[in-house]
């Protein structure tokens, strides 16, 4: 970690100006793609058929460009944005996740009644926002990225203006999101007032000095509270169930996975002083929200009969597990959180995509009862859903298990064994509702007689995520080595 920081600090290591844009390629690909997409949308009548494939191409290109240039770790534009290294991994996760979501949306949107091109442009813009967030080296950049992402999400949540539930979701998301943004802005103002800078580099280097300043700490806590809304941690979770339930399933899958990842990437950036050895003054805060989220999410999910709502509460619980890493605050926990996020993104996209396949017109068929006897209707969907449920429950050797494993290790390293024990206890609780889905799919007879139209695109997306969940589970080193290589 020391070496990497040194590299960034050293001005001679900054690339020549004309080279900067080249390093910013992933962001540029998406940015240019957005402009292109708008043109396509304006000029052709069939934009909804062209744009999904254009988006997928852009996302895949951006993903591979960032992962291939992972070693080109620089800070560009006078300390504004970081490329390569950690941001590259995050960009990879965002883009692959978004590509999978777009792939699964192609047929779903027809069913949902939002079959138009703007959807894809909004997805692209939100991903650009996430990429700005994950690479930010200045608090203002974080804010720009966050707003770009969030505003796209607000619109996406209500993409079908004729649906009451979607409107409600969009409105709730917007109001509470704006409220959270208010916290963040206020926090930024206080931090700036206390330190006179918005440069994260500066904040990290002088963290110990600043943290004796009560105004700075107050601002920081405001900032963290704002982001606790975004990662859906208790007690800032009120919007989650309604928004996840009311939005289109593909939108939910995007904002519950990549959106949460982006928020966590910001928390990791802001706390990088802590991760590289400064004492974790925010440990009580994170330990509290982590314990509350894990227990609350797991317990309340038990009583849910709607799968989208159940996964919403499960997502609250998962935010809690990841927050264990933030409370632990050592270098290992960064690796653990990033691994967990990657695993979580793919598990959840897989699960939501299966829900979107089973889902009928007008948001119907998302209840547990609709999944009864799924094994008889479609063995492959049932098997894949079971895989994702076991992965989310943290059964080895699947990706979700290793996410928890790494986070728990970091907690025990930081002498937070009690938090790890709370973590496993809520895992036991959560097992109940995850395997209940399996109970319905395999052990019960079908109660609603309907045919499932399996879209080949969605199925492809599910199979890709399932393979990733298996590979990250059986060979976690494939991902872990990449993560640790940028941290050390």
């Amino acid at each position: 970690m020391k070496r990497e920081r040194g590299q960034i600090k050293n001005d001679t290591n900054m690339p020549q100006n004309n080279y900067e844009y080249f390093l910013l390629m992933p962001q540029l690909i998406i940015a240019v793609g957005i402009v292109l997409s708008v043109l396509v949308e304006l000029t052709t009548k069939k934009s909804e058929q062209i744009l999904p494939w254009l988006s997928i191409a852009l996302f895949v290109a951006a993903a591979f460009d960032s992962i291939l240039n992972i070693n080109q770790n620089f800070v560009l534009f006078g300390g504004m944005i970081e490329v390569g290294g950690k941001p590259a991994i995050f960009n990879f996760i965002f883009n692959i996740g978004a590509a999978l979501v777009v792939l699964s949306s192609i047929d779903y949107l027809k069913k949902y009644g939002a079959y138009f091109g703007e959807y894809y442009i909004l997805v692209q813009s939100s991903v650009l926002g996430m990429m700005v967030m994950s690479g930010a080296k200045d608090i203002l950049m974080i804010f720009m990225g966050l707003e770009l992402m969030s505003i796209c999400f607000y619109v996406l949540a209500g993409i079908n203006r004729k649906k009451l539930s979607a409107n409600e979701a969009s409105m709730k998301y917007f109001l509470l999101g704006a409220f959270a943004t208010g916290f963040i802005v206020y926090g930024i103002a206080l931090i700036y007032g206390a330190t006179g800078t918005t440069s994260i580099q500066n904040l990290v280097e002088n963290f110990v000095t600043y943290s004796s300043n009560i105004i700075f700490i107050l601002g920081f806590v405001f900032f963290l509270v704002g982001f606790s809304f975004k990662i859906a941690a208790v007690p800032f979770h009120m919007w989650v169930p309604d928004v996840y339930h009311g939005s289109a399933t593909s939108v939910t899958s995007l904002m519950s996975t990549t959106g949460k990842t982006a928020a966590f990437s910001v928390l990791i950036i802001m706390l990088s002083a802590v991760f590289s050895g400064a004492s974790n003054v925010f440990r009580p805060y994170f330990a509290t929200i982590s314990a509350l989220s894990m227990l609350f999410g797991s317990v309340v999910a038990i009583s849910q009969t709607n799968l989208k709502r159940m996964l919403a509460y499960s997502s609250i619980a998962h935010a809690g597990y990841m927050a264990i890493g933030l409370a632990a605050g050592n270098i290992f926990s960064v690796a653990g959180i990033i691994f967990y996020l990657a695993a979580y993104v793919f598990m959840n996209i897989g699960a939501f995509t299966i829900i979107s396949i089973v889902e009928g017109e007008n948001d119907s068929k998302t209840d547990l009862n609709s999944f009864a006897g799924l094994n008889a209707k479609s063995p492959i969907l049932a098997a894949l859903m079971a895989l994702f449920m076991f992965a989310l429950a943290g059964i080895p050797p699947l990706a979700g298990f290793f996410g928890k494993y790494y986070v728990f290790i970091s907690a025990i390293q930081s002498h937070l064994t009690w938090l790890a024990i709370l973590g496993v206890l809520s895992s036991v609780i959560s097992v109940y509702f995850y395997i209940r889905v399996v109970v319905f799919m395999y052990f019960k007879e079908s109660v609603e007689d309907f045919k499932i139209q399996i879209s080949p695109y969605s199925l492809t997306a599910v199979i890709i995520t399932a393979l990733l969940v298996l590979v990250f589970g059986i060979l976690p080193d494939t991902l872990m080595n990449v993560i640790t290589s940028v941290l050390h």
Binding site: F390, I395, P396, P397, F401, Y405, F408, I409, I412, Q413, T417, A420, I421, V424, L425, S427, V428, V431, Y432, I435, R436, V438, V439, Y442, F443, K444, L475, P476, D477, M480, N481, T484
Partner: protein, 508 residues
């Protein structure tokens, strides 16, 4: 280190087999059954090869195969066997083909998935017994839950969903606490050894040096996980439910092998990793074990359902095993290991035989039967032998194990009291009461139920093929136990030596 791939082949056989099953068509039931049987037989043959090339005088782990798996956490695929694990591996590979054969008629629904689950389950069970990396052990321990969950949940009885979920959550609760202890131990190892490790052989050196009060907690976490699996009184409540609702094959595997994973865990991990705490808590645990022996027997006595009776008798029998382990003498631990095998054979046979009746009449309540000796003489004879072995009649296998455990616990310096033995011995008498009483009500007397005359037919060739090999071993262990005792002797000594080194002269 010299690598030996034999155990890996053993593990790969059911893995490859279960994957291949997926490529069969759903309708090819016969073919799938034969294929499953063939795969499990190949695994059995490989385990025999392991047995015959095993050096019984070597206390070290043999057939070691170690490959780095997760480098960032220093976790390796590390397998090997000593005498104790080998005998349980043999039990597993021996019971699996028999169980598959026994389901030929009973399982008609979704044979493909059933065979897949059984083979997958065999992978998990074998993996648990041969893992020398505690993390690898944990993976198998957890992974094995999934197929068993499906076996109970899909092919089980009326309350199968409740039983399956209860089974899953009980086990998961214990094992997740064990996970925390595993991580804690590995992190602690990185301070004493200088590297993060889950290698069991390294941890044997680290475990005993853990500060005493923390060691107690770690021991507790491991112990809880294993005690739920055993199951030790008062953690046994999942067992009767799971047994009664599971299909015959599920019950046989559950009683035959799965419960042994708990007792195996006690021998392999709890004793050598945390010897001081093991000695400290031995009396309390033994009290629970003795309560379990008597409680299980008393509850068995009042059961009206044959399967439930056998299920509660497991609680009683496994109490003997736990008592033997925590008496910590060579005799008692060896007796415990042999009793694990005995219980697998006798109780497995009893479940199979209850299953035979159930297949014909779909009734398990004792009151329904009566006087079946006249109708099915062959069956009645076989049931007699299995029952007597479960009671512990001298000359049959049950006697050897129970006798060794009783002797060992009698002179155990750790327990240091005769009362354990005296109360435990009463369990043997109770066993005779509840089993003989059941036998009398079911088999002897006049035929009480006209329906039986039409429905009951004697055992067919397939069922005899299933049961006879078990009977052979029941007699073999009873008459000439040294074949099996020799196998475990050196390994038992080496484990007790490890305990002895760290706890002073307490064991002498």
């Amino acid at each position: 280190m010299e690598q030996n791939l034999l155990l890996t082949y053993l593990l790969l056989t059911p893995i490859i087999g279960s994957v291949l099953v997926l490529f069969f068509k759903k309708e090819q039931k016969e073919l799938i059954r034969w294929f499953g049987l063939a795969v499990s037989l190949v695994a059995f043959v490989i385990s025999l090869v392991v047995y015959f090339s095993f050096n019984q005088t070597n206390p070290q782990f043999q057939f070691i195969h170690q490959v780095i798996w997760i480098k960032s956490l220093n976790i390796s695929y590390h397998v090997g066997v000593d005498g104790i694990s080998l005998i349980l591996v043999l039990l597993t590979t021996f019971l699996t083909p028999l169980t598959l054969l026994s389901t030929w008629k009973a399982i008609e629904k979704n044979v493909k998935m059933f065979t897949f689950s059984m083979l997958f389950l065999e992978v998990g069970m074998l993996g648990v017994f041969i893992s020398l990396d505690i993390f690898l052990f944990y993976i198998f321990w957890e992974a094995m839950l999934i197929p068993m969950y499906f076996i109970i949940g899909i092919w089980g009885g009326e309350r199968r969903i409740y039983a399956a979920v209860k089974f899953f959550i009980f086990t998961m609760f214990g094992s997740l606490l064990m996970l925390i202890a595993i991580i804690w131990l590995a992190v602690y190892a990185s301070t004493t050894l200088g590297y993060f490790t889950t290698n069991l052989l390294d941890l044997y050196k680290v475990g005993p040096t853990v500060p005493h009060d923390i060691q107690g907690w770690m021991f507790g976490a491991f112990f809880l996980s294993f005690a739920i699996k055993v199951p030790l009184f008062p953690l046994h409540t999942w067992l009767p439910d799971a047994h009664v609702e599971a299909p015959t094959a599920g019950s046989v595997i559950l009683a035959g092998v799965l419960l042994k994973m708990g007792t195996y865990g006690l021998v392999r991990f709890c004793l050598p990793l945390f010897p001081q705490s093991a000695v400290q808590f031995a009396p309390i645990i033994s009290v629970l074990a003795v309560i379990g022996i008597i409680y299980g027997a008393l509850v068995s006595m009042v059961q009206t359902d044959m399967k439930k009776l056998v299920a509660y008798s497991s609680v009683s029998h496994l109490g003997f095993v736990v008592l033997g382990i925590f008496a910590m003498t060579v005799e008692s631990v060896q007796g415990a290991v042999i009793q694990m095998v005995n219980h697998g054979l006798s109780t497995g046979a009893l479940f199979l035989l209850v299953g035979v009746l159930y297949e014909r009449t779909h009734r398990r309540d004792i009151a329904f039967y009566g006087g079946i000796a006249k109708l099915v003489p062959l069956y009645s004879t076989v049931l007699m032998i299995a029952m007597l072995s479960s009671i512990g009649l001298p000359g049959l296998n049950g006697f050897v194990g129970e006798f060794l455990i009783l002797i060992g616990s009698f002179k155990s310096p750790v327990l240091n009291s005769w009362w354990f033995t005296i109360f435990a011995a009463s369990g043997v008498i109770f066993a005779a009461v509840y089993l003989l009483w059941m036998y009398q009500r079911v088999v002897f007397g006049q035929v009480t139920n006209e329906e039986l005359k039409h429905e009951l037919t004697d055992m067919n060739l397939r069922e005899m093929i299933v049961i006879v090999p078990i009977l052979i071993f029941i007699v073999w262990i009873g008459v000439y136990p040294s074949t099996f005792l020799k196998l475990t002797e050196v390994s038992t000594q080496s484990i007790l030596q490890q305990v002895g080194t760290f706890t002073g002269n307490l064991l002498k």
